[in-house]
Amino acid sequence: MTYRPPKQSKLSQLFDVIVLLAMTFGALYIPLFLGLAGGSKSVPEGAPTTWEGMGQNAAQVAQYNALGFTDPAAVSNIINARYDYSFSWGALAVMIVVIVAYYALMLRFSEQEYRDVISEKFGDRP
């Protein structure tokens, strides 16, 4: 039998939009608020602040000067900052499981729904 969807009230439509927005902003801001957002660099303590100490050659110093930075201390945080790429294999395994499980879930539920669509579309159902 052909599926007949219920009519959705305006209030219910509005509620659905609010739910979706709440999830969207949550995904962006929760990691930020919890301080879990990664990607930041760090500057080692006692890092040098002279051109020579920071390993800058004459060409590099000349370009910094041309950009308006004549004082090496003004750009020392930029030059000395480094990412830390150490990671735990356990965390990597968790990420792989999460991604694979996500796509597996999507494909499985989608397939169920898709069979329903095809069956109704191509007349397998009365």
């Binding site: 050659n57 990597l92 999507m106 989608s110 669509v117």
Partner: protein
């Protein structure tokens, strides 16, 4: 919703009093090119340089080319599927016909997320650029960038509201200017017209070459995507082009070729002029690297040209993103995957006006409140999830409708090699994201899982089953 021929010129959105009003079929291949390249070219003007910070200059070049292969696969796959599934919603509509409703819902959200975040990033960059121009022209104080961010988003949303032809013709002009600006900078600095200013050897000597070793190359893939992110957006024009079978493959493939050239020239110019640590810090260092490169030449006309190029590229990208995000949102509303209220077409301008207006405050919230690199990362993550879906989609498409069972506007060669290459490169990029932004990646996937459960167990009840399958195709094999 009745059953429609999706290529009909009379179908589609909901007009006043329940009448049906279609989007206008007025676009040609040049508009498709302008949409794709327009969205992406800003990636050459800002954002890609985080890849230099992640792994150094050589790492960024390797990432640029690997990402180029990834996006060439994306463009080939998209050209085949979209020239056949010619409807607004792009990959969302493809997924609906090929994989299934839940996947389609997720893909629709990827699209809206990727484009809305990219739009926010563009507006942030436009605000920064205007404040930088004020500083360089002698303004002493700190210019408040927020009014300019709001102005950019609202102006472009208004343009999109008024009509797609004017919107993408505007994009065509400003994208062409931004692309030509890169070419002019290249010929002016590399010895073709004047003595070369390039200092690659001196600026990349010693540890500057690969400061993190090979893991830095993997890490750089994260932002390597930024060189091309959004070229897949050409598919959103599918319902508004005069000839989908011709315009979409032509515009998309010409677009990826343009971007491969622009990306390589950009890397060459910037790395040859700007020290890698400064170039690689897109927040405190070089926010707009091509503009900084022009400043380093000391030639005022180039500074003005690249300033204009940067502004035009950000505007073109934000403009294209509004166009694409609204089409994806509209298409989901039309199918009742989202409230049907969003499936409306303006009776006069023939645009999905409610979707355009609805997404404006969301883009503003991201642009005014979130840091640039986080916004960029969320856009990349949504794009990456979408690219991982594409090979699955392509393989299923060929399996369910083998060659010659339906008419394809374009058939990409060497199947399944592009799909498998795309899948492998996506896996590398997931690892790159994990190295710096693993928390955001997991947060994003948790969001999609929760949203999927909401869709499957609640929202999907409002969707008519057979009516969402709108293509005039035979029954898929295996069903």
């Amino acid at each position: 919703m009745a059953e429609f021929d999706i290529t009909s010129t009379t179908r589609d959105g909901m007009g006043p009093h329940g009448t049906q009003v279609g989007l206008l079929r007025v676009l040609g291949p040049a508009h498709v090119w302008a949409l794709g390249v327009g969205i992406v070219l800003v990636g050459e003007y800002m954002g890609w340089n985080f890849a230099v910070g992640k792994g150094g200059a050589y790492a960024a070049l390797i990432a640029c080319w690997l990402a180029g292969i990834l996006y060439s696969c994306v463009a080939m796959i998209d050209s085949e599927v979209t020239s056949t599934v010619a409807a607004a919603g792009g990959q969302y509509t493809q997924a609906k016909h090929i994989v299934g409703p839940l996947m389609a819902f997720n893909v629709g959200l990827y699209l809206v997320f990727a484009y809305t975040m990219l739009e926010a990033a563009n507006a942030i960059t436009a605000g920064y650029l205007i404040s930088e121009v004020a500083r360089l022209t002698g303004y002493d104080g700190t210019l408040d960038q927020r009014p300019f961010i709001v102005l950019v988003i609202v102006f472009l949303a208004w343009l999109n509201y008024r009509g797609v032809l004017a919107t993408l013709t505007f994009n065509l002009v400003i994208t062409a200017v931004a692309f030509v600006a890169i070419l002019v900078l290249f010929v002016s600095t590399t010895g073709l017209l004047a003595p070369s200013m390039m200092q690659h050897a001196a600026l990349m000597e010693g540890p500057a070459a690969l400061p993190y070793g090979w893991i830095g190359v993997l890490a750089a893939m994260h932002f390597g995507l930024w060189f091309y992110l959004g070229i897949e957006g050409t598919t959103q024009a599918a319902e508004e082009v005069r000839s989908p079978a011709r315009a979409l493959p032509f515009g998309t493939l010409a677009g990826i070729m343009t971007l491969l050239i622009a990306a390589t020239l950009t890397w060459y110019i910037c790395v040859g002029l700007i020290p890698w640590e400064f170039l690689g810090d897109g927040v405190n260092g070089s926010v707009a690297p091509l503009f900084d490169a022009a400043r380093l030449t000391g030639m005022q006309p180039l500074v003005v040209l690249l300033g204009v190029g940067t502004l035009f590229a950000t505007l073109a990208s934000a403009n294209g993103c509004i166009n694409d995000a609204s089409r994806a949102w509209f298409a989901m509303g039309r199918d009742k995957y989202l409230p049907g209220w969003f499936g409306a077409v303006h009776p006069k301008y023939r645009t999905p006006y409610r979707s355009i207006i609805f997404l404006v405050p969301i883009a503003l919230a991201f642009a005014l409140k979130a840091p640039l690199d986080q916004v960029v990362t969320f856009s990349i993550l949504s794009g990456l999830l979408e690219y991982t879906f594409m090979p699955i989609n392509m393989i299923l498409f060929r399996r369910k409708w083998p060659m010659h069972t339906i008419k394809r506007g374009y058939e990409h060669p060497f199947h399944p090699i592009p799909s498998l290459a795309l899948l492998a490169l996506c896996a590398v990029t997931f690892f790159a994201v994990f190295l710096g932004y693993g928390t955001q990646l997991v947060a994003m996937i948790v969001f999609y899982i929760v949203a999927s459960l909401w869709f499957h167990f609640w929202r999907y009840r409002f969707v008519a089953r057979a009516a969402q399958f709108t293509m005039p195709w035979p029954k898929p094999r295996g069903y």
